[in-house]
C-alpha cells in the first residue's frame, strides 16, 4: 500500500505513505523550517539528522500534531493530517525523556493507548503481553516506571507506542539519555523491531553514527532546510554541499586556489600542496543558497575536501608537496583507536589534517615526526569557500 488505493480527490496517486509537501513553520519572527518536501515509503526507516536547532524535532512534532505548520500539508495514506489533533492521528511517538505515566504500572502504561481506542479488555491484555514478550520484558508488567532503569524505561516507552500498531512510529532522539553501551544495544533492538514489524519509522537524531547505522534513508537538515536526502552510503560518498560533507563523517577542508583548468579537470594549490581533481564545479556551502554548484574559474578560492581515511601516511620524502596529490607534514598527535590509528598532521602554515590509517598495516609515526601525505585524485571534492 505504498500509494493510496482509495481514490481521494485531494491526493494524487503518486503519493508515498507519508508525504510532506511544502511544510513551513515559524514561531513569531523566527523561521524554524523554511520549506520541506519529503516522501516516506511504507516500512521505511527514515532518519532526520542535523545539529540542534535545525528543525528536525519541529518537523517530527508537526507529524505528531503538537505543532501546526505555518504552511503546507502532511499526508498520511493520502489523508491530510494538518488540523487534526494529536489524539486523532494514527501515529505514535517515543519521546526523548520516555514520559511514562508515573502513577501507572508498566502494563497500564502500555495499555493506555489501546484503552483510548476502546479495544476490548481481553485483547488489550493479549497485545500488552505480546509486546512485552517482543521486548523481552514480560516480568516487568506489574512494576512502576520509577523501579526501572533508563534503558528499560525507554524500551517500555517503545512498547507503549508500538502496541497501538501506528502507521508511522515517530522517535524523538530516544537514545540520547542512554549511555553508550545501552545506546548500541537499543540501536540493535530498534533495528530488529523495525525488521520484525514492518512499520514506518521516522527517527530524529543528532548523532550521525546512529543515523548511518540504522537508516534506510537519511534526511540531513540544517537551519530549517533539507540539505540532502539519500542512503547513508550515498550521503557519505557524495555529499551535496559543504555542510553535509562536514557533518557526516570526518572531513579535511583545505583552502586552495584554482591555478589551472583543462578538459580533464582542475589543478588546485594550497600553501604547501598541489592537487588535481576531475571536478570542474564547486558545490555550495549549504542547500540554503540558490545555486547548488558554481563553475570553477582560474584564480577562484575554493575548499578541497578529503576524507581522513583516503589519506595515506608515509615516511617523509623530499618530493612530497611538489608532485600532485601529495603534501608534507608533521605529526602533532596520534591516537590508537583499536582498528585504526588517527593522526593529526600539521601541513602548511595553519592547516591541520586528519588521517586515519588501518592499524594493522600502519607503521606508527611518532609525535613530531615528519611525514608525507598522499591521496588519490578521486578522493578530492571541491566546495565553495563562502
Amino acid at each position: 500500500m505504498t500509494t493510496t488505493a482509495t481514490a481521494d480527490a485531494t491526493a494524487p496517486p503518486q503519493f508515498e505513505h507519508l508525504e510532506i509537501q511544502g511544510v513551513k513553520k515559524s514561531f513569531g519572527d523566527t523561521t524554524a523550517i523554511e520549506k520541506i518536501d519529503l516522501s516516506v515509503k511504507k516500512g521505511e526507516f527514515l532518519s532526520l539528522l542535523g545539529p540542534s536547532g535545525c528543525g528536525k524535532t519541529t518537523l517530527l512534532r508537526m507529524i505528531a500534531g503538537f505543532e501546526t505548520p505555518t504552511a503546507g500539508h502532511i499526508y498520511l495514506g493520502g489523508k491530510d493530517l494538518v488540523g487534526r489533533p494529536p489524539h486523532k492521528r494514527p501515529v505514535n511517538t517515543v519521546f526523548q525523556s520516555y514520559l511514562l505515566f508515573p502513577h501507572m504500572n508498566i502494563a497500564d502504561n502500555i495499555a493506555y493507548g489501546l484503552k483510548q481506542a476502546k479495544v476490548p479488555k481481553p485483547e488489550i491484555a493479549e497485545r500488552v503481553r505480546e509486546v512485552l514478550a517482543l521486548i523481552q520484558m514480560e516480568d516487568f508488567a506489574g512494576r512502576k516506571p520509577e523501579q526501572l532503569s533508563g534503558g528499560q524505561q525507554q524500551r517500555i516507552a517503545l512498547a507503549r507506542a508500538l502496541v497501538n500498531r501506528p502507521q508511522v512510529l515517530l522517535l524523538d532522539e530516544p537514545m540520547s539519555a542512554l549511555d553508550r553501551k545501552l545506546r548500541e544495544e537499543m540501536q540493535l533492538e530498534l533495528k530488529r523491531l523495525h525488521t520484525t514489524l514492518d512499520t514506518t519509522f521516522v527517527f530524529v537524531t543528532h548523532d550521525q553514527d546512529e543515523a548511518l547505522a540504522m537508516s534506510d534513508r537519511i534526511v540531513v537538515m540544517y537551519d530549517g532546510v533539507v540539505q540532502q536526502i539519500g542512503s547513508g552510503e550515498d550521503i557519505y560518498a557524495n555529499p551535496s554541499n559543504r555542510f553535509v560533507a562536514g557533518f557526516i563523517g570526518k572531513q579535511n577542508f583545505i583552502p586552495v586556489t584554482v591555478t589551472e583548468i583543462d578538459e580533464s579537470g582542475a589543478t588546485l594549490r594550497s600553501d604547501n600542496s598541489m592537487m588535481r581533481t576531475a571536478h570542474l564545479e564547486a558545490k555550495a556551502a549549504t542547500a540554503n543558497t540558490a545555486a547548488s554548484t558554481t563553475a570553477l574559474a582560474k584564480g577562484d578560492r575554493v575548499r578541497a575536501a578529503i576524507r581522513p581515511e583516503r589519506m595515506q601516511v608515509t615516511p617523509a620524502d623530499d618530493s612530497a608537496g611538489s608532485r600532485p596529490n601529495t603534501a608534507k607534514g608533521t605529526v602533532i598527535s596520534s591516537s590508537f583507536l583499536g582498528d585504526v590509528v588517527q593522526y593529526m598532521i600539521r601541513a602548511g602554515t595553519n592547516n591541520e589534517l586528519l588521517a586515519r590509517v588501518p592499524a594493522a598495516q600502519a607503521r606508527l609515526f611518532e609525535h613530531g615526526e615528519d611525514v608525507a601525505l598522499s591521496w588519490d585524485e578521486d578522493a578530492v571534492a571541491v566546495f565553495s569557500d563562502d
Binding site: 489524539h87 505514535n92 504500572n105 497500564d108 514480560e138
Partner: protein
C-alpha cells in the same frame, strides 16, 4: 564528647526554631485545652479548676443548641471545602496550563494579594456586598433576576459564601503546584496515545494532582471548621459556627472547662471527618484502579 552526641546536639540545636515552635505553640496549648476539658468551673470568679477531674463537661456541652450549631458548622465546612475544590480545580488548571508562563506570576499574584489583605477587612467587605441594599442585591434587581431585595446577610448562606471566598486561595495554590508539576510533556504523551483533553485530565493530570487535592482540602477544611471571624461578621445570630460558641465560653462566660470540652469535640470531629475523607478517597482510588487496570500475570489474561 563523642561524635554521635555532638551530631545529635548539633541537629537538635539547629532545628530549635522548628521544634520550639511546635512544642510551645501547638503541643502545650492543645495539651492544656485537653487537660482543662476534664476540669470544672468552681465559682463565678475562676475560669477553670482542675482539682477534681471528670468527663462531666462533655455531656454538659452537648446541649441541643450546641449540637445544631455543631452540625451546621460541619455542613458549612464540608460544603465549603467541596465548593472550593470545584472552583479551584478549573482555576488552577487554567493558571498552570492555559496562562502563558510569562503571565503566570501575575495571575498567581492576583490570587495572593487579596489573601494578604486583613481577613477581617475582606470579610467586612462581603458584609457590604451581601447587605439588602448592597450592590449584588441592586444589580440582581436591575437585571430583573429578582424582584425583591435579596436578604441573605446574617444567614448560613452568607457564611458559606464568605468562607469559600476566604479559603479559596489555600485550595488554588497547592492545586496549581500539583497540576504544574504533572507537566505539559506527560499530557503530550497522553494526547499522542489517543486521549483527548478530558480523558487526559481524568487519567493523567488529575491522578497526578491528587497530592495537591488532598493538601488543598486539608488546608481549607481544618481552619474552616474552627473559623469564627467569618461567622461573626456575616452570620449574625442565625448563622453561627462552633468556633463562636467556644470563644463565647472562654471570653464571655469565663468557663474555660466547658469551652475546652467543646474545643476537644471540635478537634475530634475534625479528625473523624478527615479520616472518613481519606477512607472514601482510598476506596475510590482502589475501585477506579481495579476498573482501569489490565490484569497481566504470567500466562493469564
Amino acid at each position: 564528647m563523642t561524635p554521635l552526641r555532638n551530631r545529635l546536639f548539633g541537629a537538635a540545636a539547629l532545628s530549635f526554631p522548628t521544634w520550639a515552635y511546635v512544642v510551645f505553640f501547638f503541643v502545650i496549648p492543645v495539651a492544656m485545652v485537653i487537660f482543662f476539658s476534664f476540669g470544672s468551673k468552681p465559682d463565678i470568679y475562676t475560669p477553670v479548676s482542675t482539682e477534681h477531674l471528670s468527663f462531666d463537661r462533655f455531656p454538659e456541652a452537648m446541649t441541643p443548641a450546641f449540637l445544631s450549631t455543631f452540625f451546621a458548622t460541619l455542613r458549612i465546612s464540608i460544603l465549603g471545602t467541596i465548593l472550593c475544590l470545584i472552583i479551584a480545580l478549573p482555576f488552577a488548571y487554567w493558571i498552570a496550563i492555559k496562562v502563558a508562563p510569562a503571565r503566570r506570576g501575575l495571575a498567581l499574584a492576583l490570587v495572593m494579594v487579596p489573601f494578604w489583605t486583613n481577613f477581617l477587612v475582606r470579610t467586612l467587605g462581603w458584609q457590604i456586598m451581601l447587605s439588602p441594599n448592597g450592590f449584588i442585591s441592586n444589580w440582581l434587581m436591575s437585571l430583573g433576576i429578582t424582584h425583591d431585595k435579596i436578604d441573605i446577610l446574617y444567614t448560613h448562606t452568607a457564611v458559606q459564601i464568605g468562607v469559600v471566598y476566604n479559603y479559596l486561595p489555600l485550595m488554588i495554590l497547592p492545586l496549581f503546584v500539583a497540576i504544574d508539576r504533572s507537566g505539559q510533556k506527560l499530557r503530550e504523551a497522553s494526547y499522542d496515545l489517543g486521549a483527548n483533553k478530558v480523558k487526559t485530565f481524568m487519567r493523567v493530570t488529575l491522578p497526578m494532582a491528587m497530592p495537591g487535592v488532598i493538601s488543598g482540602c486539608l488546608l481549607v477544611f481544618i481552619p474552616l471548621n474552627g473559623d469564627y471571624v467569618t461567622a461573626t461578621v456575616l452570620g449574625g445570630a442565625s448563622g453561627s459556627m462552633v468556633g463562636q460558641l467556644i470563644a463565647e465560653q472562654f471570653n464571655a462566660a469565663q468557663n474555660w472547662a466547658l469551652g475546652s470540652a467543646m474545643a476537644v469535640v471540635l478537634i475530634a470531629s475534625t479528625f473523624i471527618v478527615v479520616g472518613i475523607g481519606f477512607a472514601v478517597l482510598k476506596t475510590g482510588q482502589l475501585i477506579t484502579a481495579k476498573a482501569n487496570s489490565i490484569p497481566i500475570t504470567n500466562g493469564r489474561a
